[in-house]
Symmetry: C2
Subunit: 163 residues, 2 copies
Amino acid sequence: MAAQSAKSVAPPGFKSHNHKHCIERAVTHAKQSCQANGLQFTAIRQRVLEILLTQHKAMGAYDILDQLKEDGFNSQPPVAYRALDFLVQHGFAHKIERLNAFIACHSPENDHTPTFFICRLCSSVVETQPELTRGALGKTAKDVGFLIEQTVVEVEGVCPNCR
Amino acid sequence: MAAQSAKSVAPPGFKSHNHKHCIERAVTHAKQSCQANGLQFTAIRQRVLEILLTQHKAMGAYDILDQLKEDGFNSQPPVAYRALDFLVQHGFAHKIERLNAFIACHSPENDHTPTFFICRLCSSVVETQPELTRGALGKTAKDVGFLIEQTVVEVEGVCPNCR
DNA sequence: TCCATGACGCTATAGTATTACAATAGTGGT
DNA sequence: ACCACTATTGTAATACTATAGCGTCATGGA
Ligand SMILES: [Zn+2]
Ligand SMILES: [Zn+2]
Ligand SMILES: [Zn+2]
Ligand SMILES: [Zn+2]
């Protein structure tokens, strides 16, 4: 049993919050966004997003696969990877390269270039949008004539809760 | 056979340069640095660094392994990974997370937090040290109380030579 | 109806990385 | 020179991450 509290899951800014809202908000947004853009928010894709949303941590594709299996879904690798590709492609999730893992986007409403803060101890991941990235890196890029298409910015360390 | 020109290999700043100097400089530095710090710059480690230095591109561990095999070295995965771990650990090389690949450090003399510019078309990789990283990210980190230990900053796009 | 597209089921395989343990080589103190 | 200690290497096995390929089905437009 062990009914799980709906509150207190740490991040957004490493602060406790009502996480149920997080989930509902993200799922609702994804649904509407897909509708508006003629994309198919299928059962598998929704379930994968929900799985990602259960925690503010990055999950490996095979963790997701395990969860899908428990939920009675098909569970060959392509199932997870295809759904993840879709979610990442359309901005509902991100890949954390450092961890070879995936995380739900924390503010999918905005077009953004995310920066991730990863806690080495509790594995929580916080997504931020410091306009620094486009600003600071943009300047360097302009100097050498580099055309930026995508950035990976991942900071590893210790979060405030673990210090 | 096939004497290869010592010049013109693109990067440092995506500019043509005498690449032979690149290699010699890096190897010499690594040797001296290890000597000074009581580290063993063994044959395998040197060879792996040299292999990485042949191009300003990131190489996969198994590419390196193939090269080692041709050179008559042992070629099981741990051979490459151990050498790479050593080189990365001591700042002679870096891992490009986005590519699951490794590249020789371009300025191992300085203590640094590198940023990589990766060209999608020619695969060349340029390492820069914009103090932006520590500056911009540092500010965000301070705001939320995050202790930065390591950063991954990788920019993907099109380099000036490919535009 | 015919066709093109996109999603999914399923199998196999490719690519990346680590564990584990034995053997060997380098280091420093006696 | 000898020993004890540590670091490095040899080797096999395995774990983890990701993609290719192809057949099926549903949808939607020509
Ligand atoms: Zn939440
Ligand atoms: Zn996001
Ligand atoms: Zn060079
Ligand atoms: Zn470097």
